[in-house]
Symmetry: C2
Subunit: 241 residues, 2 copies
DNA sequence: CGATAATTTGAGTGAGGTCAACTTCTGTGG
DNA sequence: CCACAGAAGTTGACCTCACTCAAATTATCG
């Protein structure tokens, strides 16, 4: 590519998009500066605090979002109130299912969260135009499918202790992707959320956390601050894969 | 489109593809007669009997398949032998994950099954060339993701009775898509498979089936022949959604 | 018809649920 | 800075649903 042109292109990237994680590692990385500018005219940054419902189960979808910061939980709720978290989305994930009018789950901010909200129509037009964007979204869908299936094994076949260890390993992997050995992070989920993700009760989660602590596998401070001295050991406790 | 040309096109569809379900409702429906002919040069029909392993967990992928007949189970196995079925694929589903060298689960024929086996390289080239094929696969991935997440709710939050009822509703839906009221079908899974799909033991599955039978919600003959007098009632027992 | 596998049934046990009390955090206002 | 209130998390006692192990029954196939 012509060097001069390339420099020009870079300068055309909208201000707010520069340095945005979604543009580097998320779906926006496939867009041209022109497309970014176009999208940017209609996109909107939004900060929401923990606990905010972003969309309800069965509700009409009017927009999609990039998660810029924070963690969003996706959950299904039964008529009698039983709840199961079916996925966690971390920055810079794309949120929403294009071309599907009605949301099949609820999405709620688990932590304080920043979003880049994209109107439905505009994004869907861009997907039709850019096969690269489509295949990027295809890839994310496949990754989420893998994660969902891994979690099915956890839900169906693991003990409470293994389940809790699995969750800690999962969060550790997102907090510090290539960290080996030890690792520290803040839990983005309350005990109630963890229970809903693992198919357990709050009490069982609490008991297993206490046991893992007494066994020296984790240290906890202020309920949310976790330190894992040996990630491998914890992974083995999680069912070892 | 020119009528004459269209007739010619139809005649160019390879013989074996005419009347094939995958061409009408599966991924092949997006292909042109020319592409079908090209693909057909390298594809191969294959009949396998129940219990045949199609690919092992962690094994290299050399081909993809359309399922023409039968049911395939996808499962994850832990180091100590615990197993979880993470998905069922019915005809005319496409099987395999393009551009991903290593299979993350095992695939095994649950019933006697017929496949149309497509070599990896050829299919991947066609995906790059045809955005329609790509979006078709994207859609199947999203459908599978929805199913996986529905099943997470089943695994995490439902009782044994609800789980067994959920499975029966799932199979009924595939056997007889728009049948309301009553419905009869043959179970494609053994009790052991059902247990591995529901995260239960064989014994618990058996006991719950007996209870559903005694409650008049289902009739069973020869272990595999199921008759459901009232699908709605069964769906309510499954957790009602 | 006999052999083997698949399924059902029974008795006893245990992991995780339920309910309730207690402790620890967090944030607010005096 | 402390006192207090409400929320979040922990701990204990007890119970239940699903698991385990074992035996009986039924289906399948040569």
């Amino acid at each position: 590519m012509d060097a001069q042109l390339k420099i020009l292109d870079i300068h055309e990237v909208p201000l707010v998009c520069r340095g945005c994680d979604a543009r580097h590692n998320g779906v926006c990385s496939t867009l041209t500066p022109h497309q970014l500018t176009e999208l940017n005219k209609h996109s909107q940054r939004k900060a929401v605090e923990a606990g905010t419902e972003l969309i309800g189960q069965g509700q009409q979808v009017h927009s999609y979002s990039n998660i810029l910061k924070g963690v969003v939980k996706l959950s299904k709720i039964m008529a009698d109130g039983r709840q199961q978290i079916v996925g966690l989305q971390f920055a810079p994930d794309f949120m929403g299912r294009p071309f599907h009018g009605e949301s099949l789950m609820a999405a709620e901010a688990a932590t304080d969260t920043e979003l880049c909200v994209l109107p439905r129509k505009i994004l869907e037009r861009m997907i039709s135009e850019s096969s690269e964007l489509g295949s990027r979204l295809h890839n994310q869908a496949l990754t989420e499918l893998d994660e969902a299936r891994d979690w099915m094994l956890t839900l169906g076949r693991k003990s409470a202790r293994e389940k809790v260890a699995s969750l800690l390993v999962l969060v550790a992997a997102h907090a510090d992707p290539d960290r080996l050995g030890d690792c520290a992070f803040e839990l983005p989920l309350s005990r109630a959320d963890i229970a809903d993700f693992l198919g357990l009760t709050i009490e069982t989660v609490s008991r297993q956390m206490t046991k893992l602590r007494k066994d020296g596998l984790i240290h906890i401070e202020n309920n949310r601050q976790v330190y894992v001295p040996d990630l491998d050991k914890l992974a083995v406790t999680a069912g070892g894969d």
